[in-house]
Symmetry: C2
Subunit: 153 residues, 2 copies
């Protein structure tokens, strides 16, 4: 496994907040030369510590005002069934997040959709038409108090 030292942690912390920060600034913060920062960033990316650089978009301004969390219980927990179900969920572009969990439920999905109508359509497609979905429960987000994938480094 790739070793991440304190310099790396500082760099990662900074680029989580702003992936566009110049490497020179990064160098000042961390007390390294820009070249050192550059090499470290490259390594972190190559080793998969940095998975992706992305832009977080404003869901509301783009018409995806509805966030919905769905808990799902499956009929069969056989590996093949489970994998197929998981794939169905993953392949839906409106499913932002899909977790396979232990506990009261088997899956938790987080949807970003345009309307309730659209969500209803998706429930038909993803739940009612799939024999392996036993039951599901819908939670509608009234507000997203905190949304992000930042780590507490």
């Amino acid at each position: 496994m790739f070793e991440v030292d304190n310099f790396d942690f500082q760099i990662l912390r900074a680029i989580q907040k702003d992936a566009r920060i110049p490497q020179s600034e990064l160098g000042e913060v961390v007390n390294l030369s820009t070249a050192a920062v550059n090499r470290r960033l490259k390594k972190l990316k190559e080793n998969g510590v940095i998975k992706q650089y992305t832009a977080l978009l404003n869901q509301e301004s783009l018409g995806f005002g509805l966030t919905i969390i769905t808990n799902i219980e499956v009929e069969s927990e056989q590996i093949h069934e489970l994998d197929a179900t998981r794939r169905d969920f993953e392949n839906c572009p409106y499913v932002q997040q899909c977790y396979y969990v232990t506990g009261e439920w088997d899956f938790v999905l987080i949807f970003a959709v345009k309307s309730m109508d659209q969500y209803n359509d998706l429930t038909r497609e993803l739940f009612f038409q799939k024999p392996n979905v036993k039951r599901f429960k819908t939670l509608v987000a009234m507000s997203k108090a905190k949304v992000g994938l930042e780590l507490a480094l």
Copy 2:
């Protein structure tokens, strides 16, 4: 509200996948000059359509191998109590996401933590010690089939 046209949508789609794509490449994809792409990106950022450029990190390699989803029911739904509770959740750095929801529960939290022990400590801090938390239910993610905040543009 800011109007997003088809060029913008294409640009946004591309930078969701890779925020580091050169504006020249972006221009080729979208059939615009780099200057036009540059101006559009600037506007999209200024208008908050692009909220943030960020790096998605590999939780496992950084020691945050545990993802936990917690459903919470509160005692009082009075606005002040609710706000205070929400703030407590938000302020916890290990809470990646916090949704205030309708339905069977009031809040859904997603934690990225290092260990079960740490989560237990957090439950004490955030739930048991808070009078407004009536009950909560923990779901442990066995696998994150899909994690991201991309929109289906």
